[in-house]
């Protein structure tokens, strides 16, 4: 049997995993087998796929997206999904034997995933149908509750590698879906009516040139009127409501001239139809409404998609906790029912549901997202645990002290909410220009009417003013800008940048230096956010032996050492863990002591030889934590430097950003010396360590106050809860891949792929988009000026205006499809400002 993914051949002599395509560690290569796997997870998933006859997954995957990595399964039991409370809120009972549930899936990203997920009925008996939605990353599962429990459905999905979560906020989502459908129906109705009015208009215009009887002319005009009025009353209504709202708030919104043009043309067209003389305008009106609605619909759809996917990611937060009652029984309960004084069990890998004190067990706690500290903290009884921190190594019991808003993270989130409220709305260039535009057009129209009414008669005045309103209809502003924006948003979403608001593109587009100030978080943003082995000094052959012993430990440093040793590990015996200090054990007849330098030297009496001393100092200078390994009786010593490694693309991204005129600054909650080392490695002069989340937000506020001009934005790039307040108060907040939910909520942009280079791409995309929009505006303003001059002087009448109007629209629409293209070249030529 050939390997299933034979099309996906590894580079040269490297063995890659048959499931995920990553390199297989040398120790795991099985020379007997044709199939190779990098881990048990991959092998399990492969076996499930294979025994269910779903090998085609690999074929589909390779044909559509050879770079996609399959997700890994988590092995959760999902028993909380069977709780009647969960069932009643999330599961819809269609009839006696069918129930429907919508689940959010992690790791669904390509056609192969859709293919695999929709084959769920073949993997899990009792599932009737599974329909995936790739954009929202959800699956709608119809199943028979008598045959399969919901937890089993979720387990099956999990085994395939897609961790499942119930999709919350169902009612709000259904409401929005209904709204979307209504919008689409409006577009369709406007389109159908516009098409039919155009047909009638052809007959009428044809009649104007080659002769038509009055009876026919009247018939066609009445038909046009009826259809045109339907367009104005149903799909066109949103422009009138928009204009009235703008008038109430006294803002010059684009809807005002549009509504005015529609109103005047509608009323005058009706009057002319009944009188049987003059122009009727309904063809122009209908096409105008249709084109404007199309533009708005496209933008609406694109923005909704981005906010949808971010919102669904928010539902990943833990919604339940394991409560321990007096008799020691455990029970999953919703997080809202927790109160101070209760005891909860927190298993490794889970995050703490509330602030509290550990009463039983010792573990390591990862506070990286909460405070930015890169080194996990050893915690035992009477130590504090903060809600939102992750429990890394062993189960602990926590007595709850504060819940919900009173926790530290709750207070931080309040700060985020406040910062978001205070964020001043950005005045977009399009809106600014629209303001002037509205005033100029209306003044001109009134002037034209007054002049012609004075010199000839009122009818001519109305004719010319209407022609002016139609010909200057702001298609470039009303149609091209939203279209260009949404095309750019779509392009960015495809390259893994989810943008929640289109103003981001405008803010990041500044090309002159300084382009803006960017504050970068360190842990998890510039660095990987996980501890790895970076350097080994002394006897390197001790590493696999140390790894053999560390295998039994869940400590992050231990895991880093195990990951660094890639060959097959010998068996270790007599392992003793010394909490928060080190570990000892026997491998290959050697007694090994591993731990901090002080622990090992005290425990074994060994001293670090003189030639190693300066190397250890250098490790510490590089902000690495030295871990000493001592082996007896050979008395050999190795010093392993562990730390949080820089992301691969951090260096190039930082220099690219500086090249584009951005002022960079590192701002982290981690130890100042570590921050300094990282900043120096990246050639960033400005840096600050030991910053609390509150101070981070304050730094943003200070930068906003001291900026060079109002058009240089202050950007925050971060991943953690500790960055959330800063992300919310910055002009543009960018949350990087792998960040906490809170940061997603606060940020304007979310990067789907790991690394910092997407930020550079985002900036190039913004620049290219804005230059396209400016081009559209120049073209349309030029066009409008010429056409308006002709209309004011009465050279062109409404007929020519009606022909010129769609031509200008087509021109700008054709231009705006360029938005966000050629992002590779767009950053070189400086643009005129």
């Amino acid at each position: 049997m050939p390997p299933a993914n034979s099309t996906d051949q590894p580079a040269a002599n490297q063995t890659t995993c048959n499931h995920c395509g990553l390199p297989v560690p040398p120790g795991l290569i099985d020379p007997e087998s044709e199939l190779q796997f990098c881990c048990n997870g991959c092998q399990t998933v492969y076996n499930i796929l294979h025994t269910s006859g779903l090998d085609n997954y690999y074929k589909v995957r390779d044909s559509v997206n050879p770079d996609a990595e399959p997700a890994a399964s988590t092995g959760s039991s999902y028993e909380e999904l069977d709780d009647p409370l969960f069932q009643s809120t999330w599961v819809t009972q269609e009839n006696e034997s069918t129930a429907e549930v919508e689940l959010l899936l992690e790791g669904m990203h390509c056609a192969a995933c859709v293919w695999l997920i929709e084959r769920l009925p073949r993997v899990a008996d009792g599932v009737i149908e599974a329909r995936a939605n790739i954009r929202r990353r959800t699956v709608c599962v119809r199943y028979n509750p008598d045959h399969i429990k919901l937890s089993a459905v979720a387990q099956s999905l999990d085994k395939l590698g897609y961790a499942a979560h119930p999709a919350r906020g169902k009612e709000a989502r259904e409401l929005r879906i209904r709204e979307d459908r209504k919008f689409l129906i409006r577009v369709a109705l406007a389109g159908a009516l516009a098409g039919n009015i155009m047909l009638l208009a052809i007959a009428l215009y044809g009649g104007t040139f080659s002769g038509i009887t009055d009876a026919w002319r009247t018939t066609f005009r009445y038909y046009s009127m009826v259809l045109g009025l339907i367009v104005l009353i149903f799909p066109g209504r949103i422009f009138f409501t928009g204009a009235i709202a703008a008038l109430r708030t006294r803002t010059a919104h684009l809807d005002i001239p549009i509504a005015l043009a529609l109103f005047v043309a509608g009323v005058w067209g009706t009057v002319n139809t009944i009188q049987g003389i003059g122009e009727i305008y309904f063809d122009s009106v209908a096409v105008l409404v249709f084109l404007l609605l199309v533009g708005r619909w496209i933008q609406h759809r694109q923005q909704r998609a981005a906010s949808d996917s971010v919102e669904l990611m928010l539902t990943l937060t833990p919604s339940s906790a394991t409560l321990i009652d007096e008799s020691g029984n455990t029970k999953r309960v919703p997080i809202e029912t927790l109160e101070a004084g209760m005891s909860v069990l927190v298993n490794p890998g889970e995050s703490f549901p509330a602030d509290g004190v550990i009463t039983d067990g010792t573990t390591t706690i990862d506070n990286a997202l909460l405070t930015g500290e890169s080194v996990p903290i050893e915690s035992g009884p009477s130590d504090q645990a903060l809600a939102g921190a992750t429990n890394l190594s062993s189960p602990v019991t926590v007595r709850v002290q504060a819940v919900g808003e009173h926790t530290r993270i709750g207070k931080l989130m309040n700060l985020v909410a406040r910062a978001s409220e205070q964020k001043s709305p950005v005045v977009r260039a399009a809106d600014r220009i629209a303001g002037y535009f509205v005033v100029i057009v209306i003044t001109l129209a009134l002037g034209t009417f007054a002049y012609w009414a004075w010199t000839t008669n009122i009818t001519t005045g109305i004719e010319h003013a209407t022609a002016l309103l139609i010909v200057t209809c702001p298609c470039a502003l009303g149609l091209a800008t939203p279209m260009a924006m949404s095309i750019a948003l779509g392009r960015s979403a495809r390259s893994g940048m989810l943008i929640k608001s289109a103003t981001v593109l405008e803010q990041l587009a500044r090309t002159s230096s300084p382009a803006g100030k960017m504050l970068l978080d360190k842990t998890g943003t510039l660095t990987q956010g996980a501890t790895t082995v970076i350097d080994i000094q002394g006897n390197e052959s001790l590493l696999p032996l140390a790894a053999a012993i560390e295998q039994s430990s869940n400590h992050p440093i231990a895991r880093a050492i195990v990951n660094a040793a890639d060959s097959s590990l010998p068996t270790a015996t007599n392992i003793t863990q010394h909490t928060a200090q080190g570990i000892t054990g026997e491998v290959n007849n050697q007694h090994l002591t591993i731990g901090s330098i002080s622990f090992v030297t005290k425990h074994t009496g060994a001293i670090i030889p003189d030639d190693l001393q300066p190397k250890v100092v250098r490790l510490i200078d590089r902000a690495l934590t030295p871990i000493m390994v001592h082996a007896s009786p050979s008395n050999s010593i190795a010093i392993i430097g562990v730390g949080d490694q820089l992301r691969d693309d951090a260096q190039s991204a930082a220099s690219d950003l500086q090249q584009r005129g951005w002022e960079l600054s590192v701002c982290s909650g981690d130890h100042p010396r570590i921050v300094e080392t990282i900043a120096n490695q990246l050639n960033i002069e400005s840096h600050e360590g030991g910053v609390t989340p509150e101070t981070k937000a304050q730094r943003i506020a200070e930068s906003k106050e001291h900026r060079h001009s109002t058009s240089t934005p202050v950007v925050m790039v971060g991943d953690g809860i500790n960055d959330a307040a800063a992300l919310a108060s910055a002009d543009v907040g960018i949350a990087v891949h792998g960040g906490a939910e809170a940061s997603l909520e606060a940020a304007d942009v979310y990067l789907v792929h790991a690394g910092l280079s997407p930020i550079v791409k985002l900036i190039d995309l913004s620049r290219s988009t804005m230059s396209t929009i400016r081009l559209c505006m120049v073209v349309s303003i030029m066009y409008n000026t010429i056409a308006a001059t002709l209309a004011v002087t009465g050279v062109i009448d409404a007929l020519i205006a009606a022909i010129l109007m769609p031509i200008s629209s087509l021109t700008v629409v054709a231009i705006c499809t360029r938005a966000g293209k050629n992002t590779q070249t767009s950053h070189q030529p400086p643009e005129p400002r």
Partner: protein, 62 residues
């Protein structure tokens, strides 16, 4: 020419039917997801039927 008196309402009726069909389709959710169906087109249907286990088995052994 008088046929036009009949044809215009007929044409409008047809257009109206089209619009009604579109509205029904939209209300049934046909246009809610415009991305996933594009992916479904690339799947081979040869093994989408669970009763075709033998075919699938043959595929595997070949």
């Amino acid at each position: 020419m008088s046929a036009v008196y009949l044809m215009i309402p007929a044409a409008l009726l047809l257009a109206g039917l089209g619009v009604i069909a579109f509205i029904i389709a939209a209300k049934k959710g046909q246009f809610d997801d415009l991305d996933t169906p594009a992916f479904r087109a690339v799947f081979d249907d040869d093994d989408s039927d669970p009763s075709n286990e033998q075919d699938a088995a043959r595929d595997r052994s070949s």
